[in-house]
Symmetry: C2
Subunit: 259 residues, 2 copies
């Protein structure tokens, strides 16, 4: 049996240490092809590039035998996945993994996340997919703590298959490996960001703003990703891209909508 | 009782005819404040701006009495909503409406849509919100066909409230007004895009790609937005930003995840 083909991508860009770690971990499980943005794409959500042409660069092979194929792409994470699947890979990958993101994508952050949008794009195209994030924004974060957990999750996903229409959002707490209690399957915690715009004046006298904010957890549930992370667990949230709020259809069907 | 405060935004930019129509329609229902991107932002998904400062410009008042406050913002649709809610409005709006988009945001397009990301951002912040799209990409599309339907939907939303955690995705078929059969509450049809990258060579001899593709409907259901639009109805999909695939939790709980 041939080794599984693993498409690796991210949103922090092709030079990010989190991507380098993920490539290394995945090389133990299968044949790896990398298609990653040529520059950081954090917070890009599910953006795609419609008004600009895309450039792709084939990089020098990496990995212990120099055989890991790597491409950088000028587009967003979702563009990278589309480009990989349609243009660069010679067969359908068995799985797509995105990350390891430098920073959390738990709770409502999934909506803004380029890491998860890459995984979701693969899911939309029928490829099993997982996004991995370490809750540590540092460029020099210690990704090695995640190795055994990530390999286990990807191995199980290859073995048991991820249900159609679902991608996994995996977040790893910033802890020493021995302090991590295990893996919990969770729901997305309800939360939002309390924005605070930092208003400044540029040297030409014109006002501008930086978007900043604080995370506001609005959910006391013990079955959420935030609870798991705060209590020493890795969180796995099965995430879907059918956004229909089925429970609301009946409510809105009672509105008077004749004109 | 004071008139409802209506925050109006879009993704095609502050000069787009679809936005101009929506401002006009909403002015009949309440006090309107506009915060819209200063340039087109189609396909931007739920992007936010983290690495660049944002500029805001107060425009000349518009509307029949010159009293419609308008701001343009250098950010994405989601940025515009954050900026409006935190910096520009003096009170919480009663509703946020986004659009009218030039082109469909039905089915899987909701994921890529800047129009819907603005509405979803408002929803995340606890504001009732609706995205409107006309299935006509033309800059000079006839938005007047949508007037009575949009006013009715917004009036009912103000009256009955949209359930918490839900925003509405409304698509209007490209038909003469008298050919529109009514409004249907729907689920999001399953579909994806079959990408085709148009590969070209630039004058310097370097290859580049344009992202193109065809829409591939994978859903024969008669309760979907695609079915409604194809059969002469306006589609309304209640859309949520809790992406948890609750039905998949049990499946993944059976994986062997101990390391």
């Amino acid at each position: 049996m041939s080794k599984p083909l693993i498409l690796v991508t991210n949103d922090d860009g092709i030079t990010a240490p989190g991507l380098r770690s993920l490539i290394q971990f995945m090389s133990a499980l299968g044949e790896v092809v990398v298609v990653a943005p040529d520059s950081p794409q954090s917070g890009k959500g599910h953006a795609i590039t419609l008004d600009t042409a895309l450039y792709v660069k084939k990089m020098k092979g990496t990995g212990s035998n120099g055989k890991v194929l790597e491409y950088s792409c000028s587009g967003t994470p979702a563009d990278c996945v589309k480009m990989g699947l349609q243009e660069l890979l010679d067969r359908k990958p068995d799985i797509c993994v995105s990350g390891i993101n430098h920073g959390s994508n738990s709770s409502i952050n999934v909506i803004y996340s380029g890491t998860m949008s890459a995984a979701i794009e693969a899911g939309i195209e029928g490829i099993p997919a997982i996004g991995f994030s370490l809750c540590d924004f540092s460029w020099n974060a210690d990704f090695s703590i995640a190795e055994s957990f990530i390999k286990k999750i990807v191995s199980e996903a290859l073995l048991h298959k991820i249900p159609a229409g679902v991608v996994l959002n995996v977040n790893i707490p910033k802890l020493e490996k021995k302090a991590i209690k295990g893996i919990k399957i969770c729901r997305q915690a309800r939360a939002n960001w309390k924005e605070k715009f930092d208003k400044r004046t540029n040297p030409m006298g014109k006002d501008y703003y930086w978007l900043t904010g604080t995370f506001d957890l609005l959910d006391k549930g013990e079955d959420t990703d935030e609870w798991a992370l705060a209590n020493g667990y890795i969180s796995v949230v099965p995430t879907q891209f059918d956004l229909t709020a089925h429970h609301a259809i009946q409510h809105i069907n009672n509105w008077e909508l004749n004109v």
